[in-house]
Amino acid sequence: MRIRLEKRREPSQLMQAITPVAAVVLTMIIGAIIFQLIGYEGPRAVKEIFFTPIFAAYKWSDVARRAAPLILIGLGLCVGNRAKIWNIGAEGQYIVGALSGAGVAYLTQGFTGYWIVPLMILAGVVGGALWAAIPAFLRTRYNVNEILSSLMLVYVAAQLLNYLVTGPWKDPNGHNFPQTAPFTVWQMMPKTILGTPFPPGLFVAFFFVAVFWVVMSRTEYGLAIRVVGDAPKAARYAGFSADRMVWSALMISGAMAGLAGVLEAASQSGQLNLGFPSGYGFTAIIVSFLGRLNPIGVLISGTVLAVTYVGGQVAQSAVHVPSSSAGIFQATMLFLILASDVLVRRRIRFVPAPKQAPVTVIAGAAK
């Protein structure tokens, strides 16, 4: 028997839907085995990481709090990833978004009014977009690879945060801790809204899932994004400018990351400190791929990844696995989803081993 991969005539819709689920299930199995082998209770670690946050109602709020930024950033990244314009620096744009919001808060200390929070949000969105505009400029003007430039700007953003919270924006009443002054009530959003245990960011995320779904599937821009990624020459032929796509894809994903950052700051943390960056910008890359670069998929995968975040903490205290175990599970998931892509375009066939053809030499009849 031999195993053969055969190209399908059409990419399989069924496999498109099944492989992300299979990737999650396989991650659980592989994770359980590995943790068991290195001396932890593997199955229990998996149970705590993947199931406790779902079945324990008191964890839902925590899951939702983490799902909101993951979904928001993941949606933005779908645009770039679809167009094969790789923004690896959402974490940096998330930080700069939060910093921009905090900058407005810094300048509006002592002011009151309902205009302050919207202004902070606007600043966050613009800040994130402008941070992402740097790699766009470098790519379109000097052909600098956006993977490298956007990634490196994450560290620049982290240093910027470091500088501001230890320097000019440091809380004068903060006992010299590296943090900004706490936001005032006029600069804050409620932690949960509408009588639910869910943060405002989650509802914003729901809204944008719908917006992105319409944009990606129904508008000319969505068509352009899909064409640029699949066939750059066809995009030019269809009249879509590649440079415009680079600018817009990076700035949209930057704006979404900035929005996520400012919402997190203004509704959850209430101030910025050195611990603000939490890796959402990187995890959202997994979210976008696990969600098949589809807005509705991102809604689901963002929730799954949020569960692993919360579950990782649960498992840490319950099974004493290291704090990085959630990250290991997330990375395994990304590998599996990328690897399983092969099944969307190909099918596995089991074929009998080739019969060894008899190589006999027959003398030429006319010799």
């Binding site: 068509l223 064409v227 400018s241 003398a363």
Partner: protein, 530 residues
Amino acid sequence: MAVSSEVAKRRAGDPPRLEMMGITKQFPGVLANDNISFSVKPGEIHALLGENGAGKSTLVKMIYGIMAPDQGQILWNGELVKVSNPRAARKLGIGMVFQHFSLFEALTVLENIALGLDSKISQRDLEKEIRRVLDLYGLKLDPQRIVSTLSVGERQRIEIVRALLLDPRLLIMDEPTSVLTPQEVEQLFETLRKLAAGGCSILYISHKLHEIIALCDTATILRGGRLVATCDPKEETPKSMAELMIGANLKEIARPAGRGFGPEKFSARGLSLPKHGDFGVALHDISFSVRAGEILGVAGVAGNGQNEFMEALSGERVALNAAAVRLDGIDIGRLGPTQRRALGLCAVPEERNGHAAVADFTLADNSSLTARRRMGFMQGGLISFSRVAAYAERVIKGYSVKALGHYSTAGSLSGGNLQKFIMGREILQEPTALVCSQPTWGVDAGAAGAIRQAIVDLAGRGCAVVVVSQDLDELLEFCDSLVVINLGRLSRVMKVGDVSIDEIGLLMGGVHGDPKATAEMTEQLHAHSA
């Protein structure tokens, strides 16, 4: 005389050089070769004739060891052999010249040949060997030239020399003339005849019937994976062989007699573009004019600026000044593809997958690529699914595209069907001017006829059409006027009917890279016409 009769006797007595016995090859969903048997005698030039998809390529890939047959046997000089890979094939004495060359543009001829050799040999010895082969067959090629500076004809000679260095007993030539000028074709035939006279058998794959009649001793005709006939081409007419190949009667293109042309619709004046990238071609001072109802053919050997010409007309690259391209009295030189399309200029580039269409997209989405504005798919800023689907279905029905429906992906269609869809998508937009490149390239004869008819009909409705093609016969068949593109320049416009093939061949570059031979031929031509 004495020698040739002796050769004939030897040929009759020897076992065939190559004998295929009951070769069958199955691919998912298609039986590519169905129980095919034929033989090639020593020193015979044997044509393998068939439409695209008839199974010619699959068959020769099995001879050259790229694929293994599912069933059947291959006999080499009367002995049963199993050709497991191309290296084994070369060891037996089988050489192959592919339609698409595998050459490194930045390396010299010598380096390219050295890279392809199975055995290690010093550059000096190799150069000596190459020069010997070149002399023996009267081929002109400088081993020290960089490949990027060579014409396609010269590049093909590299591949031929590469094969000849191994002293093959069977040379497989896959569609060798599709990239050559008529003069270069004649030179190639000379070489092949010399080779055959030396006892090397040649398996010549083509669908150009007059070439087969001029060159080959025997023709094996394939259709839909089966062998339908073996004949002596000298005793057949192009029409009779074409009908064997297609399995039906050939349809003539219907053209309304005594058509007149309307006013000028589409023109270029002094259109120049710098070259793009290291291996691009610059356009120099391109000027032409097409009237309503007129079909202008652009002939030329591949790589002479056809792609750049297409991009400059479609708007994928904009001109330096607006007046360089004019459509219906409007300067459109500085406009992009979307704006040009809105004004009535549609285009079909040469490459189907990845340029004219996206393989992973449905036919509906592929319709949106170019028809979204002209056909009113946009509804309040959103693309209307129902309108797109309806248009895609209209194209499918109107151009008998074999597809399940508007939800089929472009990649699931055969080349001919996808080309029909693409042409239909543009033609149904009723453009003022249509520019298309290689509209029937790699398309079976039935589909090609339908596509040419559709173009003629479109012109009949008053559209100005520009067709870029490397198939000169095709252009002569349905164009009204003709220009030749060579090194990014256009020749003067000629009326089809007034031009001679020889003259077109010279305009196409004569014998590429050989000014002396070109000069001689020009002289002959002038003497002839005087």
